[in-house]
Amino acid sequence: MITSISARVERREQVTPVHVLLRVHAPEIAADAQPGQFVHLRASEAYDPLLRRPFSVMRTEAATGALDLLIQVVGRGSRLVADAVTGATFDLLGPLGVGFPLPPPGTPVSLVAGGVGVAPLIFLAEALSSAASPYEITGLFGARTAEFLCCWTEFAGRCTRFTAVTEDGSTGQQGLVTDFLAQHLAAQASRRVLPTVYACGPLPMLAAVAHLCSEHEVTAFVSLERWMGCGVGACLGCVVPSARAEGPRYVRVCKDGPVFLAGDLDWQAMPE
């Protein structure tokens, strides 16, 4: 059930110079939200910026109705959201979209995060690590610099093993997170049960994840971010090309996703 509510900001934490963690009171959405789902947030009552902004759910607390959102300032809309003061309210729609399907018990899991894409994977890691039979979780978190490894301790704390990667080597390993996914998948190739990979981050990273997982014949789920109009599947504005033989050529990130089986998308035709 999608609900539309006015959610009060209960806490604002500046986690890096460009990331803010907002805790809002949204009990109806918090009660229903699954890892990988998102909320569509109206950043302003004014007409400019006009459209809502989608944000992945990072954490929920059903008992208190709290919903955590990780905001990276990239433009005017996210700036308005990040600058919210405690007590301010935002109009939220949610929970929206299709989240991450959980793997069968006993499957090793690899979580690949790029930058602010860590948010839904923290939610997923929490669900996986608190499952009746907990999963073996390998966490890989990459970013440009140490500054963009936002909330990494919360992610690392839920993983069985964890690797941080920065492009400039300012923290953790130097390189691209997908280089380390390649190593990891190669090391896993002889295992009886292959891992399932879950990834969220910039499109080039997701394309590389899809390619690597296809090469290793490993199941991968990716969570995409696109500009959205309605957020509920009506406007067909946020589509990406599908690789499936049946169904429409273009699928909606907001409704058919944001989580897709990597092999279901046409990465050759993916927009930049």
């Binding site: 309605c230 009506a234 067909l236 035709a269 927009p271």
Partner: protein, 305 residues
């Protein structure tokens, strides 16, 4: 005081004048959790073509000051899949279903209109002769009085349903086109579709939309749309559906006072899905406060008598 909000759109009776704009409300189900669909004056579908259309490649949308550009490109499952899969759920809330019809040729419009006219769940047809986003999307029909006349007459000859023609704002003079549509048998005119526009990504130095151009909607276009309704009202004597950037009841009243009998909410539903309900409540409140017992009495009231 009770206010009569009902309107007559060329024989199509609506309990209230607040509709949704084609392409902004999917097929009804998408907003079912958020909007009481039975409270709508009418549901208007995304455009339907004879065969399925995959639509334009992404990026398809772009936010602009107080508006947005879209170039969806008429993505739809095609006529038969629409009738089988979409129409039953559209009809379920019990409000009139208006099907928006598009085509690449006159023959395609006629074939779609004829098939839909045989279906009891379709209350009216809206001919989309104004989609700016596909080369063969109908706008070439809607920017010339003679081709508008030919197309409307051809569809009129195969359908007895109330026929709405959705006009393009991308013309030098809208009145000759409005008159041509009415002379050829249009019962109602929708004014207006999106304004042709574009945006450039200055970092990448290329157009933002894969289609290069798109249709501008949202509050940014409202003054243009109100002016077009005003002009069409003075040119023809058929009901007008006013649309273009309606965000509030006051916006809807501008259109009504300019000459619209009904209004449609489009982009505003993306921003606030409750807009349709808020507009309806606001129209009722305005009538109560100003002692108007029939909303229809306000239609065109801003014109000098």
């Amino acid at each position: 005081m009770s206010v009569d909000l009902s309107v007559n759109l060329g024989g199509l009776l609506l309990a209230n004048p607040v509709m949704v704009a084609s392409g902004t409300f999917g097929y009804g189900t998408e907003y079912a959790d958020l909007v009481d669909l039975s409270s709508l004056g009418a549901l208007v579908t995304k455009a339907v073509t004879l065969e399925s259309r995959e639509g334009n490649p992404p990026p398809r949308i772009c936010e602009t000051p107080a508006g947005m550009l879209n170039a969806i490109g008429l993505q739809n499952p095609g006529l038969e899949a629409f009738v089988a899969d979409k129409l039953p759920t559209l009809a379920a809330p019990g409000v009139p279903v208006i099907v928006n019809v598009a085509g690449a040729s006159l023959e395609e419009y006629v074939a779609v209109a004829e098939r839909l006219s045989a279906h009891a769940s379709v209350a009216a047809l809206e001919l989309n002769i104004s989609c700016p986003n596909v080369a063969e999307g109908g706008m070439h029909y809607g920017v010339c009085p003679q081709s508008t006349r030919d197309l409307v007459a051809a569809v009129r000859s195969v359908s007895r349903l109330p026929l709405i023609v959705k006009l393009s704002p991308n013309v030098t003079a809208i009145q000759p086109i409005a008159q041509a549509a009415v002379e050829a048998g249009a019962d109602v005119l929708s004014v207006t579709n999106t304004l042709l526009g574009m945006a450039i990504d200055v970092e990448r130095q290329c157009p933002v939309l894969a289609n290069v151009t798109g249709g501008l909607s949202g509050p940014a276009i409202r003054p243009v749309a109100v002016r077009l309704v005003w002009e069409v009202f003075r040119a023809v004597r058929v009901p007008i559906i006013g649309l273009g950037g309606i965000m509030t009841a006051r916006d809807a009243l501008e259109f009504i006072l300019a000459g619209a009998t009904a209004v449609a909410v489009g982009t505003a539903s993306f921003v606030n899905p409750r807009t349709v309900g808020e507009v309806l409540c606001g129209l009722r409140a305005y009538c109560e406060e100003s002692g108007v017992t029939r909303l229809a009495d306000l239609v065109g009231a801003a014109h000098p008598s």
